[in-house]
């Protein structure tokens, strides 16, 4: 019986494949972005597709107003639905049409706050509207500027947020991401 006395073969160290490494890093960026609202975190790749592959699968209902991204989202197995039924929404908030969609995005309820959707949009960081943020994740207050967004966005967000109901937002600029959870109070300066 040699098998018992021999030292075991050294176990191979598991290595994440490219998909796992990418989605893990994307989630980590999103997690810290939402934990520290207003801070800029770095995604492993630019664009919204990375967020979709890290978060969305056939258990999700997704609204997407960009046909190219729709194709990618459909490939994850998620159902493509109208904005009013979505749990994840990839929106173009640089035009009035985006605001119309945001008006219909589910915000959940006090009973089921997790029904509030996750909204992803492009923005330009460091220009445009100045915002003061307070709330969980921010020690006192912080200021950011977000540009390339349709006017009326922040008024709509305030009108639709009835904490703990509300939607959570991620803004993407290249490979940078800023998270604004529903718990953040936004003051338009």
């Amino acid at each position: 019986m040699t098998a018992l006395s021999q030292s075991p073969v050294p176990a191979s160290v598991p290595v994440p494949d490219a998909f796992e490494a990418r989605t893990n890093a994307t989630f980590e960026a999103l997690m810290w972005a939402l934990s520290r609202p207003g801070t800029v975190q770095t995604l492993p790749a630019s664009g919204m597709a990375g967020l979709a592959e890290a978060l969305v699968d056939r258990e999700c209902k997704v609204f997407c107003d960009d046909p190219d991204l729709s194709h990618f989202v459909a490939f994850t197995g998620a159902a493509l639905v109208p904005a009013a039924a979505a749990d994840h929404a990839f929106l173009g908030l640089d035009r009035a049409e985006g605001l119309k969609n945001l008006e219909q995005i589910p915000v959940g309820s006090a009973l089921y706050p997790d029904d509030g959707a996750t909204v992803v949009a492009f923005a330009r960081f460091g220009e445009g509207q100045k915002l003061r943020l307070t709330g969980p994740g921010i020690e006192t207050s912080s200021e950011i500027t977000l540009g390339g967004l349709v006017p009326g966005l922040w008024a709509l967000r305030a009108a639709r947020s009835r904490y703990p109901a509300g939607f959570d937002m991620f803004f993407i600029c290249g490979t940078s991401v800023i998270g604004l959870p529903r718990s953040t109070l936004i003051e338009v300066l």
Binding site: P14, M31, E139
Partner: protein, 303 residues
């Protein structure tokens, strides 16, 4: 579309044990948990090679976060070397290639059962607490649908009633662990069965905390810089355990949370509960270069 791009190459095991769809679901729920601090988010708790009730909730959150550069520390009641902590830690490193540590300062990811380390956690660190019972309202409302409605209405009066009854009966707060705490001024959570000593460490902390109950299939979070206020009466202040004056009989450190060890003569000896803090103190006394980081408590007082 072809078979080749619909399937993946064969692997003996998913990286980090959990499959990709389990991780995506946990990620979605972890984001919602951060967005509504202290609010319990349901998730489909997966099977892991460990019995429910032994930290499966914490394990799933940790497995979702793990990457090869992670450094994991696992604590069981303050100790790194108990069977439960050691096996979870070795499982985590086996399925992910992550490094193991006992040192709070070196860890990037800390999974813990019932203690928060005495050394301050810093901004990049994630604390994952294992939760047996996530529902603070269970002692007053066993029906979870009604409890959910009470959370929705922020109807927490009956929790104060429990505290009141304990104070009337015993003259002091009797909750030894899992002291109900108001998070972000809105949701009451149970901070898992950590002693009262550890509750103030969650208030306006630098680190991110996840609390996950595998058997109960719920997880919730306390983001950095979030208010965590223990429920109190204005005339009966919150008090942590009276351990400030105790000294550890092995390492000589004092002013930290201690385990009481009954002695044959009827008395008791005390041993610091955060075992690696004690180890560091002993090694320092022996002239080694161990560094004890800044601690939440100094001389038994919250700094």
């Amino acid at each position: 579309m072809s078979i080749a791009n619909l399937t993946k190459a064969w692997q003996p095991m998913s990286y980090g044990f959990l499959d990709a769809s389990a991780k995506r679901e946990l990620r979605r729920k972890m984001l919602k948990a951060i967005a509504v601090p202290g609010c319990q988010m349901p998730y489909a708790s997966r099977e892991v090679p460990m019995a429910r009730g032994w930290g499966t909730g914490g394990l799933q959150v940790t497995l979702t976060l793990l990457k090869p550069s992670s450094v994991v520390k696992v604590i069981d009641q303050g100790a790194d070397d108990s069977v439960n902590a050691a096996s979870i830690r070795s499982f985590l490193s086996k399925v992910s290639g992550a490094a193991e540590t006992w040192d709070t300062l070196a860890a990037s990811l800390i999974q813990s059962r019932h203690r928060i380390p005495e050394e301050r956690l810093h901004a990049g660190q994630i604390l994952v607490l294992q939760v047996p019972n996530p529902e603070p309202l269970r002692p007053v409302e066993p029906n979870m649908s009604i409890a959910r409605q009470m959370h929705a209405d922020a109807d927490y009066g009956r929790l104060w009633l429990i505290l009141y009854e304990r104070i009337v009966r015993s003259g002091r707060i009797m909750e030894g662990a899992a002291y109900p705490s108001l998070v972000n001024g809105r949701h009451v959570m149970t901070p898992s069965p950590i002693p009262r000593w550890d509750v103030p460490k969650l208030h306006m902390a630098q680190h991110l905390t996840f609390l996950s109950a595998g058997r109960e299939k719920r997880l919730y979070a306390v983001p950095p810089f979030t208010k965590v206020e223990p429920l109190v009466f204005s005339d009966v202040p919150f008090k942590v355990e009276d351990h400030g004056a105790l000294t550890c009989h092995r390492s000589g450190v004092s002013g930290f949370y201690m385990n009481e060890i009954p002695q044959d003569n009827g008395g008791s000896a005390f041993e610091v509960s955060d075992s690696h803090l004690g180890i560091k103190a002993i090694r320092q006394a022996e002239g080694e270069a161990d560094r004890i980081g800044a601690t939440w408590y100094q001389n038994g007082q919250l700094a």
